[in-house]
Symmetry: C2
């Protein structure tokens, strides 16, 4: 593969970027062109991707699609979905799409069909969640389970939390769901008062069953549950790799569900990682509907021609804004409270996948890779950091709208409109204001330069299917961008150095726990200062 | 005042930045200097600010302090605290510090002492919260209040939410606190099932009592409460300006607390905006302790010499990273679950204050202003976007640590350390890994370039005083940065254009509500498409 800077499209796009910097190509002018909306928006089933307010014209888009073909985006996505070992540094496949594949076609890794094991896990989850909901399975004192705590971090946390938050309006199984993610003991401590321990099921989620934070929390849970005289094996299930310490009959648990090495943490919400907590919280049927929405978008991403392909086009817009227009960050603003944790999920998905510095064959990429992604729901964000979005350093934004809210029964009107209509008035106005600006030469503090780009995504409602589509759209966009740079979006070696260094410091702390006279003289002055604070209890 | 690019320090700092780019000035080398920690860290009472892992040396810091003096940072901060009309575009003072001033000295605006009105509001809050807690004041059916819903957005939401989340371990008054911020009806809908309406007190927070979202939610509340046969005037209190529609005896409420035009929303958590919900949730005494911690940091910021001044130094580091080293964004990573909403608060505080393009006299600033601020708690963030922090585009980070967690009773050890010690092992390791990196020429995907700067802040525990110190530190850092650029951190004209445009769209929606035949032909093609989606109910 070529590096992006070696493609034929690269110098062409550099020239386009200069041209788009001319005053005549201000967004205010671009969006006034007849047919702009129809030409610069597309649907993927009941999912709208509108890039009419991006700083592009037909010539720019044609060159971006040339770049996509030059970097073989369509074929690489298909290779990913059909089991190729696209995670080249770890020599693994990346088959999150298999976890929601309902096609009845085999998906082969080196000739082995992985579909049976994926289907099997889903059947297990369905049966298990029904037994919990029916009361057939109960806690060790006979109480029905009313609380579930998902113990996991990173990909084992943010995806399930996003989906649970998005769909909680439909959580009618009598189960409350909590997330124990951070190793901070205050995360555990804050959950304890909210649950009835006798009626609580803990789901320990870790592929290797060695993730330090998750194991520290799992051990805390086991010690605490045992201390209350309850049987941990009747209150714990695991989601882990086959044969890990969490899937060992020497450590009995109520049930164990497998996850596979071809699905990375940040892509795992459609596997058992999301499947177990979400099926318990929402019911298995809603989880399966969520998978079907995601699968539909997977098929679109793999089969639609580039010019009709929504996540591929979104990836090209990301590359354009980043490498050619020079924006370092992107906002993600859902106009829906239910999607309040979606920015944190995409922040992980995208920044961990694409925050890389070398290509798949180890060369420096030669161009900036992943942008910084951040966001809060609108209209809240309008009253927070949108001042900077309008008048400070510019950054592109993805706006997300939902045509129907979940709670439709509250219809009081203020200023002639319902709350939901007010939300939409703002959802429609903000991209327009950012694009067009408003000159005010008399009062410079009230001048708006405009020309600030955004995309707009719309789903029809907060159904599980639509949440699945949204998830898969951003997953596909992420890997398409990686393919443009020829980086590996499926490894995360960048997290290793900090872990290694934490291991050394942990050993110092453990030594000081055993020997109060232990000095931290092997550490540099800064680390020593902090270790002394921790042990002295003050600054 | 000079623009930053016209200061004597500007070209000197440009030269320093070139010098700091040399390989010999890699952070790995800088932090190895003897005495580095002591020379590049400082305390403000029981509050540590450590910038030893920033890309600075003594010469850089001397030039930054020259810049601070040239831009008159010390005197301008004192002027702000003593009532000068530093919010020049709106011709107002900026006296958030008055809301936590316990000095018994007058604070004058044009000769009028504002301390009596601030003290009076605090006394009202104390008396009112005691009456709620004692059960003297009850709902209209005689039930004791057990839920409080704070209805407000932006500054009326993020600050109180941050503090409530930080201190909720000490919330022992039998009151649950919810926030109704977003105009999205799903925000209201999600709260209703969580509360007993007969035992719920609603706090409507809006300075003008015209904020569209807050009024839409307030009207929704009134309609709903009345519809249940309850008396809204016994279930609603207001925090608003004297004489606003929320402080009018024609609209009776249980109580009304004043806020003043010299305290902007994003600086208002120590006023009645935070005072009413936080005193109800935590008790007035804890709120007052929180104010006293903030006041202590205010005094430090106003009186410590620049070289000993923690928030002033943090502001200079911000300017250095932004304007001289060219970083566009900053991470804010609290190693404490309790501080999980602090990044969202600072994101608002800083980006709304400093996302500006013109100086206080209306000239273009000539240099970039506020950075993008984002963050999630550690260690969670390590498993999310830290891949990019270590191997993608670099950005500076503020790490925040707390020596003692809230829940100290859970002491189970994994790998020889408690959960809290594991948290600290990571809190100590991450800045070190970012600074030093690790060469790996054989495996480029495992190479860490290092030289990634960070600051570290430590407070001793999650006491109200320390949360107050943390709040005031970031407020002072924000305004000190603004003073360097000579921008006005107290206005927010950048939010006006979107509001104006939303008003036009709202009018279209209201017209279509009245007349189903209304066409949206006055709108451009893009706005029209979205209005049609909203009314047709599908894409």
């Amino acid at each position: 593969m070529k590096r992006i800077i070696e493609t034929n499209a690269w110098p062409v796009l550099i020239d386009h970027a200069k041209r788009m910097g001319l005053a005549e190509n201000h967004l205010q002018n671009l969006i006034a062109a007849p047919g702009r909306f129809d030409a610069f928006s597309m649907k993927a089933g009941p999912f709208l991707y509108d890039f009419s307010r991006q700083r592009v014209d037909t010539a720019v888009m044609n060159s971006l699609y040339d770049l996509a073909r030059e970097q073989k985006l369509p074929s690489r996505f298909k290779e990913m979905m059909s089991g190729s070992r696209v995670n080249v540094t770890e020599k693994r496949s990346a088959l999150h799409t298999a976890s929601r594949n309902f096609s009845n076609e085999p998906v082969l890794i080196d000739g082995r069909d992985v579909m049976p094991e994926n289907t099997h896990v889903r059947k297990q989850i369905k049966a298990f969640s029904q037994k919990i909901h029916s009361g057939e399975l109960r806690g060790s004192t006979g109480k029905r389970f009313s609380s579930v705590v998902a113990v996991g971090i990173g990909g084992s946390y943010l995806g399930p939390e996003f989906v649970a938050t998005a769909l909680k309006g439909g959580a009618d199984k009598g189960i409350r769901l909590h997330f124990l993610s951070n190793v901070d003991i205050d995360c555990f401590g804050a959950i304890v008062p909210l649950i009835d321990l006798e009626a609580t099921l803990w789901i320990i989620i870790s592929k290797s069953y060695t993730t330090t934070e998750t194991m520290a929390n799992a051990n805390q849970v086991i010690a605490f549950v045992s201390g209350l005289g309850l049987s941990p094996e009747k209150h714990i299930v695991t989601v882990t790799s086959k044969g890990s310490p969490g899937d060992d009959s020497a450590n009995p648990v109520l049930a164990s569900f497998h996850m596979f090495d071809y699905i990375g943490g940040r892509y795992s919400v459609t596997s058992a990682v999301g499947g177990v907590p979400l099926s318990l919280f929402l019911g298995y049927d809603r989880f399966e509907s969520f998978l079907k929405g995601a699968a539909e978008m997977d098929i679109h991403a793999a089969s639609a021609a580039p010019e009709k392909n929504a996540p591929l086009t979104a990836a090209l817009i990301g590359i354009w804004n980043n490498n050619f227009l020079g924006y370092p960050a992107q906002g993600l603003i859902p106009y829906s409270s239910a999607l309040s944790r979606f920015p944190a999920h995409v922040q992980q998905l995208y920044m961990e996948s694409n925050g890389k510095s070398v290509t798949s064959d180890g060369q420096p990429t030669g161009a900036d890779t992943g942008m910084i992604i951040f966001g809060e729901p609108g209209t809240n964000a309008q009253h927070s950091f949108f001042q900077l979005a309008h008048q400070g350093r510019p950054f592109p934004i993805d706006f997300i709208g939902v045509i129907h809210p979940h709670y439709r029964q509250y219809k009081n009107r203020s200023k002639g409109v319902t709350n939901h209509q007010e939300l939409w008035a703002n959802f429609i106005a903000q991209p327009q204001a950012l694009a067009c600006g408003r000159d005010n030469a008399d009062e410079p503090a009230r001048n708006f330069s405009g020309n600030r780009p955004s995309s707009t995504i719309v789903i029809e409602d907060l159904s599980p299917e639509n949440i699945g589509r949204l998830l898969s759209f951003y997953e596909a966009r992420t890997v398409f961008e990686a393919f443009v740079w020829d980086i590996n979006p499926f490894d995360q070696f960048g997290v290793e150095l900090g872990k290694t260094m934490a291991g050394g410091i942990r050993a110092e702390i453990a030594a000081a726990n055993e020997d109060p006279g232990h000095l931290f003289d092997d550490r540099d002055q800064i680390q020593k200062a902090y270790l002394e604070m921790l042990f002295s209890g003050n600054l």
